[in-house]
């Protein structure tokens, strides 16, 4: 019996060995070296000089590091909150039984399939002063009078129809689909007619020229280029998290919803009282993955801060700070300082995840 267990343990170890070797060589050795370098003054060429904790002390006196730290924390907070909410929303929508839902699931997943570099290049173009984003906003602003007229007409027509139906004693909901379709067509025709007779006209000469990247302006305490990266990062990570939620949604027993509807719970109550609590372990996973991913954001920052892009001090995050100190442009590498920053980043990641688990959403369900 004992021998059997021993053989079993040996077998397990043998199967784990390749991965453990990989872990030891590429992660274990790397971590040990980084910890060592973080306690030395090292420039890649001269032998490392032992300086103790000086690098850590110096780090917290560097304005660039403090800025990177603030950026990373703010970035993590905003992106994690927004992407978790949106991925839950999208997953719920895509969990409906509608014809052709697989098509939409595929399309919505696309941003995560594309490489981060390719997406960043597309966004760089999108964010130009004469780029698509500004163009689209200009278009909306130009046609704002028509759009508002259209929405106004729709609301009025829909209200008239609902009131009329109810006056005949029919149970019409405010958002009745059949009535809404008719209202939509009538509102479109009405707007077109008003435009044709010159009652409502598109505005002229509206040019929205917002600088997204090459600026130091701030909004809500964060530089605008960083907001640009926030938008982009949310866009690229939502689909993966949405997929995890989708898997979680499929696991919730249908009987719960059936019981709830028998008890008279409406859709919103079912969502908040059944879906959200039942998804708690999944939410924990999503938030944790989100925190780790956003604290270590690097590639999108590196690409968007390139030549002609955003100024570095407006976008620098901790991971980029580390990289930029090992390979500063045209200057001597500061490997010791960078290693200290890297260690700080990993400790910070651990602390944030633990705090989240302790005080935020934990993996225990309902």
């Amino acid at each position: 019996m004992r021998l059997g267990r021993l053989i079993e343990a040996t077998n397990a170890f043998l199967f784990l060995l390749p991965f453990l070797l990989f872990l030891a060589v590429f992660v274990g050795y790397g971590v040990v070296r980084t910890v060592y370098f973080s306690l030395t003054d090292y420039n890649l060429f001269d032998p490392p000089k032992w300086v103790g904790f000086q690098n850590y002390v110096r780090l917290f006196r560097e304005p660039d590091f403090i800025r990177a730290l603030q950026h990373s924390l703010a970035f993590t907070l905003v992106v994690t909150v927004v992407q978790t909410l949106f991925s839950l929303l999208l997953a719920t929508v895509l969990n409906q039984r509608i014809r052709g839902i697989t098509f939409f699931r595929t399309v919505y997943y696309l941003p995560s399939v594309l490489s981060s570099a390719a997406i960043t290049l597309i966004f760089l173009w999108l964010y130009q002063k004469t780029g698509f984003l500004n163009f689209a906003v200009s278009w909306v602003l130009t046609y704002l009078p028509l759009l508002l007229t259209f929405v106004g007409l729709f609301v009025v027509v829909q209200a008239v129809q609902v009131v009329f139906e109810r006056s005949r004693g029919l149970p019409a909901k405010p958002f009745d689909l059949a009535l809404a379709t008719a209202s939509l067509l009538l509102a479109a025709a009405g707007t077109f007619a008003l435009d044709l007779f010159g009652v409502v006209n598109p505005r002229e000469g509206v040019q929205f020229k917002f600088i997204w990247l090459n600026t130091r302006q701030e909004w809500a305490g964060l530089p605008i280029p960083l907001w640009a990266i926030v938008l982009q990062n949310i866009y690229t990570t939502i689909p993966t998290l949405m997929l995890i939620y989708l898997a979680g949604l499929q696991d919730i027993p249908k009987s719960l919803y059936e019981a709830a509807s028998l008890d008279g719970a409406d859709d919103w109550q079912q969502f908040t009282r059944i879906t959200v609590p039942m998804l708690r372990p999944v939410t924990f996973l999503v938030i944790t993955l989100g925190l780790i991913g956003t604290l270590q954001v690097f590639d999108q920052v590196a690409l968007i801060s390139g030549p002609g892009g955003a100024p570095l001090e407006s976008t620098v995050t901790l991971a980029y700070y580390v990289y930029n100190n090992v390979f500063p442009s045209g200057a001597t590498p500061k490997v010791g300082l960078a290693s200290a920053a890297a260690i700080t980043l990993s400790v910070l990641t651990l602390v944030v995840v633990l705090l989240q688990r302790r005080f935020g959403v934990s993996e225990r369900g309902y």
């Binding site: 001269d46 302006q217 500063p328 442009s329 001597t332």
Partner: protein, 409 residues
């Protein structure tokens, strides 16, 4: 069978007798150029010595790749060193001083400005392979259309500004010049005033001369003579000129290839950087790359032979004839290729002469061992004023405070 064995042995013998010298540099366009040089000039010349040079280009970020290789001891025998990060590379102790391999006469055949750029603590660490400086390119058709005289080499900042302002006013949708928040362009004007990036104690002081250049350059757009490149949707002045969004550009010979693709029919002329009206001088940068030798190289003597062959007059003539780069040897200044007429010859000639006394105060594009950290401070000051986020005094005060921290007070 026997024959095959003999042949194999003969081949093996050849391989053994042959010394392979590894060269490394940028990828992309550089690969066919260097391979052409090696196959047509260097390798035929060195075949009798049993030396074979092989080019191992680095695609992607060359600087990081070579710094890593130097640190890890896997660097090639010969490699490019860009002037921008030359000082930190030379200070690493992994680049071999070349003084003992070259005679004084051999070294003096290269343009003194360039040799100066690759001299560190009195020793020569690299042989310049080619170089570039800045020159002013202008679109002749736009100046003709606006009925304004072309810029010329007697222009000062003021007369140049008057000309481009007239163009911008008359043509409306075309800017006189497009301003970029980049020291690599603005610095040429700052050097003209007599200002230097570091004083005798190695500190950066933004003095009255610097301020004069800074005020003039950042105010061009406000005074209606130029527009910020960003507003024109461009990242560099060459893009503005090529897209006919601006009438002038301040670039090096690299703009030639770009304009051949982008605007092959544009009639453009080239002249020197405008003069500072006060000092009556102009300034310029040398952008250059050297071939340097790795201290850990196992075949230094063979590598030096390759180095001499690849920077030889024949090799530079080969490159020059194909219009690929400007030669770093002074003797080639009188090459008939420069004297040809035509827009490209004028561009190359002006850029070449930009490194001589005609170019005025010409400094290598390097900033001690500070590199990008130093540049960022000025570039951010330029950007803040050009986009109207700070005024000149405030931007300069902030920049000076950061320089005091970086270079010492």
């Amino acid at each position: 069978m026997k024959k095959v064995v003999v042949l194999l042995f003969a081949l093996a013998g050849m391989v053994l007798a042959q010394t392979t010298v590894r060269l490394s540099g940028f990828g992309g366009d550089n690969v066919p150029v260097v391979n052409g040089l090696l196959n047509e000039i260097v390798n035929p010349k060195l075949a009798k010595d049993g030396i074979k040079a092989v080019y191992e280009p680095v695609e992607g970020d060359y600087t990081k790749a070579i710094l890593n290789a130097l640190s890890a001891g896997t660097a090639p025998d010969l490699f490019y060193v860009d002037i921008f990060w030359a000082e930190s590379a030379f200070a690493s102790g992994r680049v071999e001083p070349l003084d003992s391999y070259f005679t004084k006469q051999e070294l003096s055949a290269f343009l003194p400005n360039l040799m100066q750029a690759f001299t560190y603590k009195g020793k020569v660490y690299g042989i310049p392979k080619d170089f570039n400086t800045l020159a002013l390119q202008y679109n002749k058709d736009l100046f003709d259309e606006a009925k304004v005289a072309y810029p010329n080499q007697a222009d000062t900042w003021e007369s140049f500004e008057a000309k481009i302002k007239a163009v911008q006013e008359k043509l409306g949708d075309v800017a006189g010049f497009c301003v970029v928040p980049d020291f690599a362009r603005f610095g040429a004007f700052a050097y003209g005033t007599g200002w230097r990036p570091f004083d005798s104690q190695g500190k950066t002081v933004l003095d009255a001369n610097f301020k004069r250049a800074f005020e003039w350059y950042t105010g061009l757009a406000k005074r209606g003579a130029a527009k910020p490149a960003q507003d024109l949707g461009e990242g560099w002045t060459g893009g503005c000129l090529g897209g006919e969004k601006a009438a002038t550009a301040l670039e090096g010979a690299w703009i030639g290839g770009f304009l051949r693709d982008k605007a092959p029919n544009m009639r453009f002329g080239t002249t020197f950087v405008p003069l500072d009206p006060q000092s009556k001088k102009r300034g310029n940068f040398t952008f250059t790359v050297s071939w340097s030798l790795y201290t850990g190289s196992k075949n230094k003597s063979a590598a030096v032979k390759v180095l001499k062959a690849i920077t030889s007059p024949e090799a530079q003539q080969w490159v020059l004839e194909r219009g690929l780069a400007l030669p770093s040897r002074s003797a080639l200044a009188n090459n008939p290729i420069f004297q040809r007429s035509g827009k490209d010859a004028e561009l190359n000639r002006t850029v070449f002469l930009g490194s001589t006394a005609l170019g005025g105060a010409v400094l290598p594009y390097k900033f001690a061992a500070y590199g990008g950290d130093w540049l960022t401070i000025i570039n951010e000051a330029l950007s803040a004023v050009i986009t109207g986020q700070k005024n000149v005094d405030q931007a300069l005060a902030d920049a000076q405070a950061r320089f005091d921290k970086l270079t010492g007070k």
